[in-house]
Symmetry: C2
DNA sequence: GATCGCGTATGAATCGTTTCAGATCGGCAA
DNA sequence: TTGCCGATCTGAAACGATTCATACGCGATC
């Protein structure tokens, strides 16, 4: 007996041709009601499930968009992915979420996987500092949208949040509390996010006539909690311990917070702390964390919309766009503010 | 000009047959070195990328396993997924992570999607209380493994953590602190996790001669932070406010913690709190959270291993297994213990 | 009565691989 | 010389759906 039932089996069972079965499935209005019912009965009886790979082969492209993020364990990216998924699924497309883990070679591997799958498009937060991965991918002819990163106009679409402004918001907030020096704990500086946030912080300092070296800098190899703990330890070892710390994301801030806590250093009394992303857990942190909120859902939603426009039926009309969203500071106890959950 | 290059174009360019090109790609040892180089050159020149859907069509099944979890925004499940992915990728398979969001109809939709994709297998934490979704899926003949849920022996593989023990650990810990009554904040009771953890807690109480009604119960519709906040508000409205609270997961506990904090109720002095899962953020919570740790990575890893065994070349030798891992209590400040990050 | 149009149904061609039975060829043994 | 072998390569037949030109009835129209 035939292990898996195909459209042919259904056709035989219903006493019609394969073309008719296909029509019942895809354009039921072309088929008489009587036939439609008979075919449907055969489908149910045999438990027929159409083969997606056969459809794709015929169609030449798949109905999924791929999303490649820097860190799947960071709730911020999960939120971005949710926004994108919601939008894509509304348009009848699926989304697969993949994790480059900030590793350019993982990124390259995933990108060639996407090419083999003939995905409809890619949403990507690039991990490769050289841009070589994306340059190679561009030749594949698959549209992609840069997420949380801005692109040179005309090359491709991008949606980002204004990281310079975000950095400035964070620093301004700390300076408003009377601090005159800030330590910036960043992830790898080849990530544009980390660079831009520093630029913004620096601008805030110099705008108030403070010297550039009022901003000290600790760079970590990764943007996660463990790296934050290490950075916290390094902070404690500095000859002049900072009174204000700005972290490039909330995960780092959590790590720093844990290190400070372990050393019995009070936050915010001895050290004020600002994070970035305002993930859901920021409000529940050991000391509720002041953070720069990014509109994560909207980031994902917008990215998906741009991709859909480019890959849609009237995609030839598409013009690459560069969308920049604005961040917002949420003050909480880690900088001496009354808590706001 | 041909938009996308196929194996035929490569064959023409290299002056060989399509079969040879295929051999160069899949069984290079069957091809002379000279030919291999010529074909490789043609591949590089034309930028050929093989079509995954065509391969799949021919092979009859795909090389990906699907994972369907209750809540993608819960770091616990992300961790489980990472464990599974690591294992699957080592075996040359891809993993797609999908989110049923505890919604049975979403679950059903994803399952039929998986059937259409002819995925190699499915790792699932079921959301459907009736089991109808899985029963229907079983007919598709695609192997699946239950994750974080145990199955009747022989029906399918399952990997779970002993939730009864987990519930007992949590309750025992609270009772050890001198509490004589506990409130259990659970998600939907149709989830086995929530039921079993309650059973364990109850067992701990009765083992000490406490009456069954020493365990009060608040049920929430979802296992997330927002539901936890609501539960916290309900806690505060109780005529006799509990002194010990056990939450079915850390997200709920965070929500409860926020509600208590907003009402200026001290944890652990006025209320002791235990969570479940021990996600990374538990240690960084407003008050570092005592929690029942589940071996999340191993859960995912083991589930993937079982699936690989069932779908592997010698899959006919496969015997369904029921693996049960053991949880572990991690005491922190939310129950009056010195912090352990 | 021939023609046209419309609603339906047909089935062959097609998508891009993989696979496999067979062709080719040089060399080696009988 | 003939037959056989192994190494290498070929080309056609799947895989399972979609699509499209075509055919078939059948009533309406001229």
């Amino acid at each position: 007996m035939a292990r898996i039932v195909g459209i042919k089996d259904v056709a035989r069972q219903a006493g019609v041709s394969v073309g008719t079965v296909s029509n019942v499935i895809n354009r039921p209005d072309l088929v008489s009601e009587q036939t439609r019912e008979r075919v449907q009965a055969a489908i149910d009886l045999l438990g027929f499930v159409r083969s997606e790979s056969a459809r794709q082969l015929r169609a030449g492209r798949s109905r999924i968009v791929a999303m490649l993020v820097l860190d799947m364990t960071n709730p911020f990216f999960v939120q971005v992915a949710r926004g994108a998924e919601r939008e894509a699924r509304a348009a009848g497309l699926g989304v697969t979420l993949c994790n480059s883990a900030e590793d350019p070679s993982e990124e390259a591997e995933y990108l060639s996987l996407f090419a083999e799958q003939r995905v409809r498009g890619v949403l990507i937060t690039p991990a490769d500092p050289t841009g070589a991965n994306l340059a190679a991918f561009r030749r594949r002819g698959i549209p992609f949208v840069l997420v949380d990163r801005s692109a040179p106009v005309g090359e491709c679409c991008s949606v980002s949040v204004d990281d310079v402004t975000g950095g400035r918001l964070a620093a301004d907030h700390l300076l408003d509390q009377g601090h005159v020096a800030i330590t910036y704990v960043s992830g790898p500086m080849h990530l544009a996010q980390c660079r831009d946030r520093r630029t913004g912080a620096l601008a805030a300092l110099t705008a108030r006539g403070l010297p550039e070296d009022a901003l000290t800098h600790i760079e970590t190899p990764r943007l996660d909690v463990a790296a934050g703990r290490d950075a916290g330890a390094r902070l404690l070892g500095l000859s002049r311990r900072p009174t204000a710390v700005f972290c490039a994301n909330d995960l780092l801030a959590f790590g720093v917070l844990q290190a400070l806590h372990a050393a019995r250093i009070a936050v915010p009394d001895a050290v004020a702390l600002v994070g970035y992303d305002d993930i859901e857990f920021a409000a529940a942190a050991a000391v509720p964390l002041t953070s720069v909120r990014q509109p994560a859902l909207e980031l994902g939603r917008t990215a998906a919309t741009l991709l859909l426009d480019e890959t849609g039926d009237d995609g030839d009309m598409h013009v690459h766009q560069r969308v920049v969203l604005q961040p917002e500071l949420v003050a909480r106890e880690s900088t001496g503010h009354p808590s706001r959950p």
